[in-house]
Assembly symmetry: C2
Homo-oligomer: 464 residues x 2
């Protein structure tokens, strides 16, 4: 449930004022990038750069200390060298700052536990909600909040949307945000939490469970600090929205690596797996797969069964997709007699009226349209899957549009499989803009559909 | 071993003359695309368009029949409607054409077995080597041969190289050729064979086993016609070069779909798996994965063991990669004492001297260079794997170049893991141009490294 810590994340996401301690006029410094982000995103609140030597930075008046700032600050972002962070945090406590993000690294993750304990005891002394240390912080594109110190030209910043993202790791966060930036999905809120020495994953998940902007959540976790609380929040959030999770440290060696990364006790993976399973979390080891899952859950309704109505304009790809469908516990739909009858009338004689419905390498938008219309309206179909290979003679932008037209009318989940080079990529974008996710490989598509079926069953059972 | 059929493929790849039966001046027609391909690729032999109505096509003199052509033709490409193909093939027999490609579809794969039998009996009558029907034919970019009737603007045509490709399916072929076109690998020879009614996969593999232009082979197979001959050629080729194979029809439903696709008896998958295993073939169900494997085997030496020297500039990605490495039967290398000693000297104190060697999110090209140099020269390392995340402050094109510089000097296999948006893609290209394959996901990279280790062991055992 909501507590002081999770409330503080709400403050970080929509603060009236932000102090950046360690703000710098040097473009190579972390404190420059952070200040620049808020300016670039047109953050509407007050910005206070804190720097011992400068009078103004990026056109804003700078202060020597947080104690000099003329108002109580909602969020302080600390980007100063590790050894002086406890002192700076003490000042934040005295200044009654409402929330703190420490992006600085060099604590327990490199064996410097003493420094981290000092940070924690200072936070406790003032009851300060602190995110980090050793993290890249928070992002909310609607309010103009972005503490990521990764140079903005190096990654494609996402647009605002409904996908929430929690990451213990800054590098995984950078990669995923970069990937989201290239996809047709948008971000609601992002939180990275590094060593989780004060605010931890449980607090963050509690906040995002109740956040109305977030429909789907992706999580990269190395280890949970408070296992009982984690189980409680996992159960609560899993019933409310789909959570796609990757657990770093699934193997003994990976667990050891996690310890020297975020000082996490990655623990016994089997236990985590059991918790995730019970909470209805969707597990994935691969960031590409996580993105694939996110696209499906963010944009498409949950399926009511596992019967896939598969249409293809490529025979071999249809065979591979059929294999993938059955390998992943799904089945091909057997179309109703009336569908078959209709298709026999409108398809050329070379088309076998069965699933996979191979409409031929010469299929144009008209033939695609007839096939999709029939499958979308067929009562034996739970999920509509369309293989559209744009290397073929008949496939062009009219095919992409014909598919996209069904996004608004189809009440069932729809996905597209399409793989290829630049011409194909162009058409995939057209389809994705309509809200239908496109996957390169039949195997990935089948995994995503299977995850949707599994989560739909979980939700149904948890409502009973 | 080489026979008349496999010799005929050699003729198709380097013919002195080509007749295109069904050549057309209409850009929407298959017979136009094929003729245009040969012209675009500056094919140096004689081209004979055959068309009942036209006097000339694309500036070339056209003939009414293959029997009117003034010389014996090396290859006839037949692109006329299915019902008249037996007659056209009979004329090819009378004209003593040396090899024939039938791209037309509409035979056994749609239940028209009678027509296919007629085609086969005509081929037998004249002892004609026929590729197809229901295929997209052959491609050799060095000689200017390309019978693919897929519109060339729709896919990125590959460059010439050393990767051979055999596909029973035209759609899978189109997709893979399109993917190769976007990768830094080149194609030696491509053969698609559809219904395999005369020339079959065994003939093609026999030809490519002895083809010096082909170092690595990727194969999409639905079913083998002659199982004993197939086993023989599989064993022979697996010992000579790496073969990456995807088998369509691995499940019962997929097998049924394969039958209505290329009239294949996809058969019992367990038997195929056993054959592939015995022949040292690398199996994959996913075209992305096949491409990933192809890049590794085409460009990198085989590893002498399974110990991975993993360098990373991202902690979380290092954890995920470690999990993937162990999940796929590989291990992290324990660096030698002298390597560790050296690294302690040159790395900043924040770097833990262990594998994964996390050189920090602020690592620049100098730090990358020191780390790579040490790992490349470490006797405990069999495979060098570098995670280079370009979203980080220190990573730029100098890092990509620093990595690329080792391509020429490193005697061990090297791979890079890098994932992200447009800035990352730009740098991946720089690295791949040096010959080092780059993978988006740690899981994919680990699968590829594990396949290389397995194939290296197979080769070692088969030499003993």
């Amino acid at each position: 449930m909501e507590n002081e810590m999770s409330k503080s994340i709400g403050i970080m996401m929509n603060p009236k004022s932000v102090a950046i301690i360690g703000a710098s006029p040097d473009p190579d410094k972390v404190g420059y990038s952070i200040l620049k982000n808020y300016l670039d995103l047109k953050y509407k609140g007050k910005l206070y750069p804190i720097n011992l030597k400068e009078d103004s930075i990026l056109g804003l008046k700078a202060y020597k200390s947080i104690l000099d700032v003329p108002e109580q600050v909602d969020t302080a972002v600390i980007a100063v060298p590790a050894p002086i962070t406890p002192n700076v945090l003490d000042e934040c406590g005295r200044a009654k700052v409402k929330s703190v993000v420490v992006v600085t690294a060099g604590y327990a993750e490199v064996g410097n536990s003493e420094l981290e304990e000092k940070l924690v005891s200072t936070a406790k002394k003032y009851n300060l909600p602190v995110l980090g240390p050793n993290c890249v912080g928070v992002m909310d594109l609607r309010t103009g909040v972005d503490t990521l110190f990764l140079p903005s030209y190096k990654f494609d910043r996402p647009e605002a949307g409904s996908l929430g993202f929690v990451s213990q790791s800054g590098s995984v966060a950078g990669t995923i945000l970069d990937l989201i930036g290239g996809e047709s999905i948008g971000l609601s809120k992002f939180v990275s939490y590094g060593n989780a020495s004060v605010i931890d994953e449980t607090d963050i998940l509690n906040y995002l469970a109740d956040d109305d902007d977030t429909n789907v959540l992706i999580v990269y976790l190395e280890g949970a600090k408070k296992s009982k609380d984690f189980i409680d929040v996992a159960k609560r959030i899993g019933k409310k929205k789909p959570v796609i999770i990757a657990k770093g440290g699934a193997t003994a060696a990976g667990s050891k690596a996690a310890h020297s990364h975020t000082a996490s006790m990655a623990g016994n993976y089997q236990i985590y797996e059991a918790i995730f399973e019970q909470a209805g979390f969707i597990q994935s080891n691969d960031l590409d797969e996580m993105m694939g899952m996110a696209k499906m859950f963010d944009k498409q309704p949950l399926p009511t069964g596992n019967r896939v109505g598969l249409i293809t304009n490529g025979g071999g790809t249809g065979v591979l997709a059929t294999d993938s469908i059955y390998r992943n516990g799904l089945a091909l739909a057997d179309l109703t007699d009336s569908s078959k009858e209709y298709l026999r009338k409108v398809m050329p004689p070379i088309v076998n009226i069965r699933t996979p419905l191979d409409i031929g390498g010469d299929a144009d938008y008209g033939r695609f349209n007839e096939a999709i219309k029939t499958v979308v309206n067929d009562d034996n179909v739970d999920i509509v899957a369309i293989i559209a290979l744009f290397q073929t003679p008949g496939a062009d932008s009219r095919v992409a549009q014909a598919i996209g037209n069904y996004a608004a009318v189809c009440k069932k989940p729809m996905i597209v499989i399409s793989e290829g080079g630049s011409y194909t990529e162009m058409h995939k974008k057209i389809i994705e803009q309509s809200g239908i996710p496109v996957y390169s490989s039949p195997e990935m598509a089948a995994k995503v559909m299977a995850a949707a079926v599994k989560y739909a069953e979980f939700r149904k059972n948890s409502e009973n």
